[in-house]
Symmetry: C2
Subunit: 144 residues, 2 copies
């Protein structure tokens, strides 16, 4: 009993995929202390050097309000520090830096795992689809 129904809904399939793959990455990243979500926040903060919430949120493609709460998490774990002063700027802490260093090879392994599972073609499709869809919201705003 309880066989999972194979949906033809693009949305349902994307949600399921995102959840399954998140779990896969989280499990692969175990030991680094980071989840994929946190990994992506930190790797981008490293790229930026330092950033305020708005800038950081734009870079990773999240709502500012979502960002406020996500930052709360990485900050509570001590991965980022708040350069108090004008404007509230965040930078990676030492703990954040070393977590990230530990996480990178694990992330690469997870990436390979996906290529193994989906094949090179479909893995590439994932990136292409992501890039296509990430402009959806921007376009909506432009139309207004």
């Amino acid at each position: 009993m309880g066989e999972l129904y194979k949906s033809k809904c693009y949305c349902t399939n994307l949600r399921r995929s995102a959840n399954a793959v998140s779990a896969l990455y989280d499990s692969e990243l175990e030991g680094s202390g980071l989840t994929v979500g946190q990994y992506y926040l930190l790797i981008n903060l490293r790229r930026l050097g330092s950033a305020n919430i708005t800038h950081w949120a734009d870079t990773v493609g999240l709502e500012r309000s979502t960002m406020v709460r996500n930052i709360r998490v990485v900050e509570s774990h001590g991965f980022v520090e708040q350069t108090e002063g004008r404007g509230k700027t965040y930078t990676l802490s030492d703990k954040g830096n070393s977590a990230l260093d530990k996480a990178i090879p694990k992330w690469e392994k997870a990436q390979s795992r996906i290529v193994e599972l989906l094949g090179r073609e479909d893995a590439e499709a994932v990136i292409r689809i992501g890039w296509t869809l990430q402009n959806l919201k921007a376009e909506d705003e432009t139309v207004l």
Copy 2:
């Protein structure tokens, strides 16, 4: 400033895609009173006729505990009814049935929209990828 970074992370791209597409479907479904998540719950309940939480959760591919809370939502909106008695069984209410009837053509429009946006090839990839990944967890359990 604040250009969105194009990620090469399969996980990040899938998450972004899932969120963007969920928003697209939710907006397309407006007027039916349903979100995509709710739509998928209800369309499956209709297929099943009636179901207890465990069975329903297995069908839609969600954790039982997730299901408990998601059911709480559709129940609070009056879309499903609880056939109290032995085992706690759920069925669609009249309101749920008519919401679903209104939603189906809207869902189909959203489906077409995705094919338009991604092209037939990549749209098919979404389904294929979803079906491949939905067995991940099952396999993990089998390995134990």
